[in-house]
Assembly symmetry: C2
Homo-oligomer: 245 residues x 2
């Protein structure tokens, strides 16, 4: 049965509409990270369109790493908890090219009132309760990145050093597993600065040494900013890597 594009005010292709419906189901938690979504034929039937149209919608979501296709098995909700995607947003890597997985050491978790850059980036009113997490990331016991992570306190209630420390995996895996909050994309700005006393101490470099300052805003569904972080990063033996295309 040929489904006509219904009520298209300024023309939205059908597959776009399907993509939006799928996204809504994801936001609503109908399918959770790691789970399979219904088969293409099932979805085609549900939305009363052809399988090819569902396919195109899924193609788009897969290209954004929101869904993952696995031939012969099904289509799954992407997850930061899967080993291959664990540190998908981490751009700081050893120059050697080795695939090392970093260790995390949490220094501090505290509450504070929103202010400054973080609040602005997250669209929070000044004074909103926030959570600030300070963390050291190590590769083979060498400290490489000193992170300050800021979120609205309401986003992640009950986070403590102990809980974070006992969790194995990335922050995004943590948010996902504990709060059902999935990060879709992020923006970064990198600058060169001098290490201050605290950073120098933590990163085991001389005070005043040149280090990278990596500011990041991470977004969940609907381009909603959720996490701001500033990473201070040593670049001897490590560098910030990027693919341009």
């Amino acid at each position: 049965m040929p489904a006509k594009p219904v009520a298209t005010p300024s023309f939205r292709p059908l597959y776009e509409q399907i993509r939006i419906l799928l996204t809504q189901s994801l936001v609503a938690g109908e399918w959770k990270p790691g789970e399979a979504i219904p088969s293409e034929t099932d979805l085609a039937e549900r939305f009363r369109v052809s399988q090819g149209t569902v396919r195109k919608a899924i193609d788009e979501l897969a290209s954004e790493h929101i869904l993952v296709r696995r031939q012969g098995k099904g289509t799954f909700v992407a997850s930061h908890s899967e080993p291959a995607y664990q540190y998908r947003f981490l751009r700081v890597l050893p120059d050697s090219g080795e695939k090392l997985t970093p260790q995390n050491r949490f220094l501090e978790v505290k509450k504070a009132r929103a202010s400054g850059e973080a609040a602005k980036a997250l669209g929070l009113k000044a004074g909103t309760p926030t959570l600030i997490i300070k963390r050291l990331m190590l590769f083979q016991s060498k400290p490489v990145v000193l992170d300050e992570i800021v979120l609205a306190a309401s986003t992640c209630p009950g986070a403590t050093v102990a809980r974070l420390e006992s969790f194995r995996g990335s922050m995004y895996s943590f948010y996902e597993t504990v709060y059902g909050l999935r990060m879709i994309r992020a923006e970064e700005r990198v600058r060169a600065i001098e290490a201050d006393t605290f950073a120098a101490e933590q990163l085991a470099v001389a005070r005043g040494s040149p280090i990278l300052c990596v500011d990041r805003i991470a977004y969940t569904y609907g381009d909603k900013p959720v996490e701001w972080r500033r990473g201070l990063c040593v670049t001897s033996g490590f560098s910030y890597t990027n693919e341009l295309s």
Copy 2:
């Protein structure tokens, strides 16, 4: 007429084969940057496959920014010379968010024998003749990036300061226009370093100031490395920006 996938030893989808054929035509210069390639129906006829299969092959090349689709007009070979793509690989941008186009000031163009990092990155034997270009990139007359660019001398014969200076546009636009050499993608590694005397002078900062060191390898068709460059970059008012997804 249904075309069967011919002689597929370890199964290559038809559209992959078409993609390879299209790429070969691009490498051979059958269609030049900025030009239109034949219509989908023409190509379908030429390769004796359906239009949908050609379409999928073109989709892939378009997603890699090798081709550009324009509805109602045709499909075109992407070009670094087009305004929108002029500085596609430039990640250093003003914090203000303004869309400024940089000016180039060429300091030196010299010949040298391949050695060190550049030679290794480009896969050149030590001693191969190379060209080294030193350039300052300015935004609104403020010096921001000091580049050292290395290529095999055979790649770009006859390049001089005068010729580069008189050319309006990016290096990649230059290679493309003058030598028919199109850059497809690049890899970058960013580190924080202290400005040496020369860099400090050129970038108008104090000697020893923290600056970014951005190493890049740029590739043409077939992942062939063609250009190595090191950009030393001031990050006051500017930063290296990146999208993660």
